[in-house]
């Protein structure tokens, strides 16, 4: 019924030494449906390939079996060979008579016998192969980048420069992310704003970037090349098209809110921009502190606005975006250390978290860059506590990676800006980055005191009210230490964003046990996700420093380009499909698929597989009780037949 050709390769002596090739050929000729069987010294050579091609034509072959080296070696080569004759490339079967036969035995009898069994199995399987055609889909060239921190900014700029349209979606009123809060960056100590703000501005200016601040993605549908994304534009109560960024409104505004930007260390106006270098330079109204929204009257801003940009009636709006690929760069939160009562954060005024300190150093910060305690005084001694909540099995097992280095940076800045004694309480110093060890050595020389031991408790000093005491065990001297200080800086664990689970669900990502988004493969696909066309960059994938984040952003941009630079893309041909006639609607496939390819059609009471999402692992087919799922190229029938063929001899 089929017309099968079997081609056995000698591979010089690699195969022929322990497998009697001509005996395999003779054997193959006896098998039903085998029309021709041939041998050749090197089947992968040009004459070998021509031999196959000529036989395909001469004998009108519709299946080809090549017994040679591993399919991992030359399956692609031979697929091309048969495809060149017009035969579908999936009608090829490779029999591994080298790596898994001739090379692993020294007995020619045994090798030959195994070769026969393998060829028989291949013939059984080949009979049932079907031609497969990859589906070609149109690719939307636009890109959505979610998150306007340094990762998102970098990726967006890179992509926009190639001429692609990029939508940069940012939740807060400005782009910039955490990096915009920093003062200096380790280990070079260059000013964060100096390197970031030009980039922020570039985003604003770029004709190919549509910047969408104060926006959130609410729904993602579709698949690679054809995503449908719904973005919510939160009501700003200021028409940014009209606003000319004069900020007269901010000046007049009586409302007072808490500045998230300054980590709560400062107040902000109800209508304001988060910080002076914010992009865009246009304000939004914070309903929670706006006098009008709270009390029903005020509207001072409306009166002063010459552009008539204030609009208290504004509602949330929804925008539909179509895109071919998505980069998720949603960043991180710092762990809330209040529950760790032993450190007194939130209760003892002298205890600060790392980001608060960043703002203290920043000249645009609440203190104008001066390091003062909450009472305005300058601290005389400062303790920096590493690993608060991280490397801690009771909280977060992972290392937050950047704390050692920013703690060193803090020490340096404290030394620079105050005359205080600075103490580092650390578990291990981790300085594994370019220039990091050097930076560490430099800080040691700056007379910063290093105590190897994790800070265990912060208490208020009994002897000197207002001062703090750090309790710790110095693990080098094994002595317990009670160190009185004026200021304590906690380096809290870097944790996933509070809404990471929602983001994960929306983009069909998976997460590791800490909640950071999972890459498709830890080594070989560190930026791809289980959802084709969705990439991740930056700290949402796991704690990392700015250089790594930027590198990931650039990598993700390159990955995206491989998709959107073509207007069509070929989908995997060896995907699974559902035969609706026999689907019982049990939804096992939906439950086991890591890619979200199957879904349940309630109307028809059957499951359906979105081939664009399918990676062809076939696990749905094994979970399917009725055999309704056909894992193409590895169908139940094909595998069963191969087993039968292998077990016959």
């Amino acid at each position: 019924m089929s017309r099968i050709g079997v081609f056995v390769c000698h591979c010089g002596l690699n195969i022929a030494k322990t497998v009697r090739v001509s005996e395999l050929v003779e054997f193959a000729r006896t098998l039903p449906d085998v029309v021709v069987a041939e041998e050749y010294k090197f089947m992968c050579s040009t004459p070998g390939q021509e031999l196959i091609q000529n036989d395909i034509k001469k004998y009108k072959l519709d299946r080809v079996i090549v017994a040679a080296c591993s399919p991992l070696m030359h399956e692609k080569t031979f697929r091309k060979v048969i495809a060149a004759t017009g035969l579908n490339q999936y009608l090829l079967t490779i029999v591994n008579v080298r790596e898994q036969t001739s090379w692993v035995t020294s007995d020619i009898e045994v090798g030959t016998a195994k070769g026969k069994a393998l060829i028989n199995g291949a013939v059984y399987r080949a009979r049932l192969l079907s031609p497969l055609v990859s589906r070609v889909i149109d690719v939307n060239p636009d890109i959505v980048v979610v998150g306007g921190g340094i990762a998102g900014i970098q990726a967006a700029l890179e992509l926009a420069d190639t001429g692609k349209q990029v939508y940069l979606v940012e939740k807060s009123p400005t782009i910039g992310g955490h990096m915009a809060q920093f003062d200096k960056t380790f280990p070079t100590l260059d000013c964060s704003a100096c390197i970031l703000t030009p980039k922020m501005d570039a985003v604003l200016q770029h004709k190919n970037i549509k910047m969408m601040t104060y926006c959130e993605v609410t729904e993602v549908k579709g698949y690679v090349g054809n995503f449908d994304i719904i973005v919510k534009q939160k009501a700003r109560y200021v028409d940014h098209d009209k606003c000319n960024a004069c900020l007269a409104c901010t000046e007049k505004c009586p409302g007072k809110g808490v500045s998230e930007w300054d980590e709560g260390l400062a107040k902000k106006k109800a209508i304001s921009i988060p910080f002076p270098q914010a992009v865009p330079q246009k304000p939004v109204i914070d309903r929670d502190s706006c006098t009008f929204f709270l009390k029903g009257k005020c509207r001072l801003c409306e009166k002063v606005c010459e552009q008539k940009a204030i609009d208290f009636e504004q509602q949330d709006t929804f925008v539909n975006i179509k895109a071919g690929a998505i980069i998720v760069a949603t960043g991180y939160d710092l762990m809330d250390t209040k529950p760790l009562v032993q450190y007194g954060y939130g209760k003892l005024p002298g205890v600060y978290s790392a980001l608060e300190v960043e703002r203290l150093f920043n000249s645009a910060g609440p203190t104008g860059g001066k390091v003062t305690l909450r009472d305005g005084s300058e601290p005389k001694s400062i303790a920096i506590l590493h690993c608060i909540g991280s490397r801690d099995k009771n909280n977060h097992e992972h290392c937050s990676r950047v704390c050692c280095m920013y703690s060193l940076k803090f020490a340096h800045l404290f030394k620079e800006k105050t005359s205080a004694d600075v103490y580092q309480f650390y578990i291990d110093m981790r300085a594994a980055g370019k220039g990091y060890e050097e930076f560490y050595n430099r800080i040691i020389e700056e007379d910063v005191k290093f105590i190897r031991g994790k800070g265990a408790r912060i208490t208020e000093s009994k002897e000197e009210p207002g001062r703090l005491v750090v309790e710790a065990e110095d693990t080098i001297t094994t002595k317990f230490i009670n160190l009185p200080v004026d200021m304590v800086v906690l380096s809290p664990a870097i944790v996933p964003r509070a809404d990471a689970k929602d983001v994960q669900r929306m983009f069909n990502l998976s997460s590791d046990k800490h909640g950071f988004f999972m890459e498709r493969h830890p080594k070989l696909a560190p930026l791809s996700t289980m959802t084709e066309g969705v990439f991740i960059a930056g700290v949402c994938q796991g704690p990392k420093d700015i250089p790594d984040t930027v590198a990931q952003a650039l990598g993700a941009a390159a990955e995206v380009l491989t998709i959107v630079s073509k207007d069509k893309m070929e989908l995997e041909a060896t995907t699974a499909i559902v035969n609706p006639a026999v689907c019982c609607g049990c939804q096992n496939c939906v439950r086991v698929c890591p890619y979200g390819a199957p879904s349940f059609n309630e109307q028809k009471n059957v499951c359906e597989i979105n081939e664009a999402l399918c990676k062809g692992c076939g696990q749905c087919a094994a979970a399917c009780p009725t055999s309704a799922i056909i894992a193409r190229h590895f169908t139940n029938e094909q595998v069963l037949a191969e087993i039968e063929g292998l077990m016959e001899y």
């Binding site: 089929s2 017309r3 035969n579």
Partner: protein, 286 residues
């Protein structure tokens, strides 16, 4: 005893394969007998069917597409059945080449009632793939020895598009004859299609055969049958004079296995040819 065993197929050879349609899923197989006795015993009339058999795959009942007036062989037009998962036998048949041996059991079932049709005008209405036993009937009636036995012959045959029409050469030949009125139609034509466009029921309406001394023989997909029958009722055809061929899952083909049982009939042995009057007597369970 075994020589009369109705379950044992006779060996036949595929001597010719014709690819009938653009979609490559309908082929006509010409089968010749390997044993002379088998050939002599295989006496059939249009409308009957046979079980084609491939060992390891099974059997499939297929209507005979050739006419008994073509001696020496039997032809079957076979569609590859099944949408996502193809039928075992029909798919295997499609994989075969000329020269291959298969099995055949038959002829089975009742034919179009030739004696009843004699001296009457015949309207043959066919749709799509279900034209095979109608072709047998037409060729039978058109044979020079038989033509005089029948009155006027009108054919209405339609397919979704020109590529899906079966027996294209024969259709062309019929159109040239004046002893048969041939009306070929397609739902939707293409650039090269010069013929009629329209659905079979509408064409029947246009042709409007007189019911007087006329029998309508109708085969086609359920949807076509559904809309064609009212046309003939409107034309005042009696139910006895409208014939069709039923489709039902069959196994044995000889009225034993119970599968094709509808009411007190077995479609395989009491049919598959029924008049509308006979069908009305049966419960609606097919």
């Amino acid at each position: 005893m075994m020589s009369n065993n109705p379950y044992i197929p006779m060996p036949v050879t595929i001597t010719k394969i014709i690819n009938e349609v653009d979609t490559n899923d309908i082929k006509t197989f010409r089968l010749t007998f390997q044993n002379k006795e088998d050939e002599q015993k295989f006496k059939y009339l249009p409308g009957q069917f046979a079980e084609l058999s491939i060992f390891g795959k099974g059997e499939s009942p297929i209507g005979i597409a050739s006419s008994p007036t073509e001696p020496g062989y039997v032809e079957f037009t076979v569609q590859k059945a099944g949408v996502i998962v193809p039928g075992l036998v029909t798919a295997a048949l499609h994989d075969l080449e000329e020269g291959a041996e298969i099995g055949m059991r038959g002829p089975l079932g009742k034919s179009w009632p030739i004696e009843f049709l004699e001296k009457k005008n015949i309207v043959v209405v066919g749709g799509g793939f279900a034209f095979t036993t109608l072709r047998s009937l037409i060729n039978y009636m058109l044979h020079k020895d038989n033509r005089k036995r029948f009155g006027e012959i009108t054919v209405v045959y339609g397919a979704r598009n020109p590529g899906l029409l079966l027996y294209k050469n024969e259709l062309a030949a019929w159109e040239k004859r004046d002893d048969i009125k041939t009306n070929i139609t397609v739902d939707k034509g293409n650039e090269s299609w010069k013929g009629r466009e329209g659905f079979v029921p509408n064409v029947c309406k246009e042709v409007a055969p007189s019911p007087k001394n006329t029998v309508a023989v109708i085969c086609g997909p359920p949807i076509m049958i559904k809309f064609t029958l009212p046309v003939f009722y409107d034309l005042k055809f009696a139910k006895e004079n409208i014939l069709t061929s039923l489709e039902m899952r069959m196994k044995c083909g000889i009225g034993k296995c119970g599968r094709c049982n509808v009411g007190f009939k077995y479609v395989c042995s009491d049919g598959p040819v029924f008049s509308m009057a006979e069908l009305e007597e049966l419960p609606r369970d097919f």
